[in-house]
């Protein structure tokens, strides 16, 4: 159920009208792939592949950054953060090649053992879902809170809708950014499970005077769920959007090309006509092949007073008496 919720979140985030369309389709839209290889051309196949890989990387990086963002705004314990950041960076370095190598066999920056090791590491991770984030809680505080269950890796909290925030503030709410829901990744499933069973439905506790002493958390361990399940969907959507933009632009380029060609044609025709005129050949002028095109013409209408027309539209006529 929580998984469904996660998916929900992403599909609502991308509220483009074609989201339904995308949902029905398999993960990679074959249309776009085709369009790619088409535009790249066969000779450039190799370069193209590399390019694409590059793109894939940057987009992955971007989404990763996006997810890291929540963690990085943290103003909690600096040293610890630094350590973790390093860890994460390391992981990132390892991760990228793995993902690409799974699809493309050409580049192998990692040895088999390393990959195995990495995959094992990934397999051990567990993700907890929070359906509600108490007011004034932020990724930093949440990290502090979760650390007692084990090593926390990544945290992502969904910030509230800016419009909803504006409304909340207007009605006297706190100005701090609130979050609607979130996910936290632990390095071991065990940690995640403990976290969920301890936190769920309980007050946060701690020192009696602390801000979140009485706040209740909802936490659910997501079985068979990995962090990549979260980010991949987003990456996919970005990719789809970019692919769509590419096709749109190539279409526009074709249109522009048509325009340029017809412009050249008309110029040539003009030159020909001028030359013929200079030669003084009115008689030479052969009847040009006349192409007649009919275009749908925009409608016209008018509310203007016309001579002779006295009757008025019923509804308007009925009101005139009360006007003057």
């Amino acid at each position: 159920m929580a998984r469904a919720k996660a998916v929900d979140f992403f599909s609502t985030k991308n509220n483009s009208s074609d989201s339904e369309e995308e949902e029905d389709k398999p993960a990679v839209d074959p249309r776009f792939v085709l369009a790619d290889s088409d535009s790249e051309g066969e000779e450039e196949q190799e370069d193209g592949d590399e390019d694409e890989e590059e793109k894939g990387r940057t987009s992955k990086k971007k989404t990763k950054d996006f997810f890291e963002l929540a963690g990085k705004t943290d103003d909690g314990d600096d040293e610890e953060e630094d350590e973790e950041d390093e860890e994460e960076e390391e992981e990132e370095k390892e991760k990228k090649p793995v993902k690409t190598s799974s699809t493309k066999a050409k580049t192998k920056p990692m040895t088999k053992e390393e990959i195995e090791k990495h995959n094992k590491k990934i397999a051990k991770t567990g993700v907890v879902y929070f359906s509600r984030i108490p007011p004034l809680m932020d990724p930093g505080k949440l990290r502090m809170l979760l650390q007692r269950f084990g090593i926390v890796d990544r945290i992502y909290l969904v910030p509230e809708d800016p419009k909803a925030q504006a409304v909340r503030i207007r009605h006297g709410g706190n100005r701090a950014l609130a979050y609607t829901e979130g996910w936290a990744e632990f390095t071991k499933k065990r940690y995640a499970k403990t976290c969920a069973s301890t936190l769920n439905g309980n007050t946060i506790g701690g020192k009696k005077g602390s801000q979140h002493y009485d706040d209740i958390m909802n936490a659910k361990y997501l079985p068979k769920f990995k962090w990549s399940d979260l980010s991949e969907q987003l990456a996919q959507e970005t990719h789809n959007r970019q692919a769509r933009l590419r096709t749109e632009i190539s279409q526009a380029t074709r249109e522009n090309q048509t325009y340029i060609q017809s412009l050249e044609k008309s110029k040539a025709a003009e030159r020909r006509r001028q030359r013929q005129e200079e030669e003084g050949g009115e008689t030479e002028e052969k009847p040009a092949k006349k192409v007649h095109r009919d275009f749908y013409q925009g409608k016209t209408h008018s509310a203007r007073a016309k001579e002779g027309k006295k009757e008025l539209d019923g509804s308007v006529g009925s009101i005139l008496g009360s006007v003057m």
């Binding site: 959007r241 522009n256 340029i260």
Partner: protein, 442 residues
Amino acid sequence: MSFTDLGLPEWLNESLSNMAITKPSAIQKACIPQIMKGKDCIGGARTGSGKTIAFAAPMLAEWSKDPCGIFGLVLTPTRELAIQIAEQFTALGANMNIRVALIYGGVDMVKQSLELQKMPHFVIATPGRLADHIRSSGEDTIRGFRRVRYVVMDEADRLLTPGFVPDLKTCMDLLPDPSKRQTLLFTATVTDAVRALKDRTGEKGPPFIHEIASDIAVPSTLTQSYLFLPGYVREAYLWAILTHPDNEKKSAIIFVNRTQTAETLRRMLMALDVKTASLHSEMRQQERVNALGRFRAQAARVLVATDVASRGLDIPTVEMVINFDLPADADDYIHRVGRTARAGRKGQSVSLVTERDVTRVTNIEERVGTKMEKYDLIEDDKVVEEYLTPASTAKRQAVLDMEAENFGERKRIQRKKAGLDVDMKSKNKKPKRVAKGKSDKK
């Protein structure tokens, strides 16, 4: 001739000269004395000829003799126009402690109703919101309207169209009988409805009528030109026109027919580094006010607008009007190009004519009575080289972004709420366009 000669009090003359208005225009000369005499009035004059002062000045003169309750009600078709008229009233009556209430949609209703309860001297309103108050705000709020002395309908031709009738009827039912108040109608174009009003003679006798002498409804200081091009390269040419060295510093309004186009163009031009604001009904009221403010303050050089901005708006700095789409009604064209060349200034209009606008352009030329000239500042080669690709890319990007942000959702929801459960998407789909010759065969 000065304003005092027309019978206006000295204080008003002073306020007017503070606004740099010293000489009355033709319509002001004609209408002010008649209105002071207590006659109903229908005033028709070209765009930018000073119609607002023509009704504001005599009303204020009468009001200053006996400042009371709700003295006058001004109805306008658009919110921005209401704001503008209210500003002028406030400025004119500033040294007489005038209280003006602005009643229009898109903002808090309770505040407005409290303001009405304080009996402001003048109320500037759009019919929809005023009718809403009459229906729901209670007797305390609306009792002032029962003794209104003046009712003004600015842009009367637009107000007297079927869309406004139900709300207008609600308002008129509350107001005193036509024989007990003065009714002033002002418009730049005379429609059937306005003409029908002319022929009515009530207990007070016929109203005073001032009409434009010649049939040319556009100012003589306006140069009108056209550019004939295929529809799909309009964006590039638009950009080329706006960034041409001759136009680089000019402030311009671009008129389009749909909110969708307005938003696309705004995004496109912003992406191409042209400072642009937009004005259309799909924006929130606050955004609309802000956008217009930005344009007036010249923080934005270009305003992309639908016909909501085509009437009445007085922005003296506008030097250029570009018709990105041509309007179906030639009168709309007159109002649109009337945003420039105001009060004797020079102005320029460029209409982008596509393969589909030929009948529209002939219709407009017939109505206006002049032929447009070809706009030959833009060279095709230069556009092809420099403008075509960036413009088309920016446009496609804008369209995709809007799709992602679900542009137009607000209106769909509103229509649903109003019970007009029409699927806007299917409605917005263009009808299958068949060339005329072919459809005739069927």
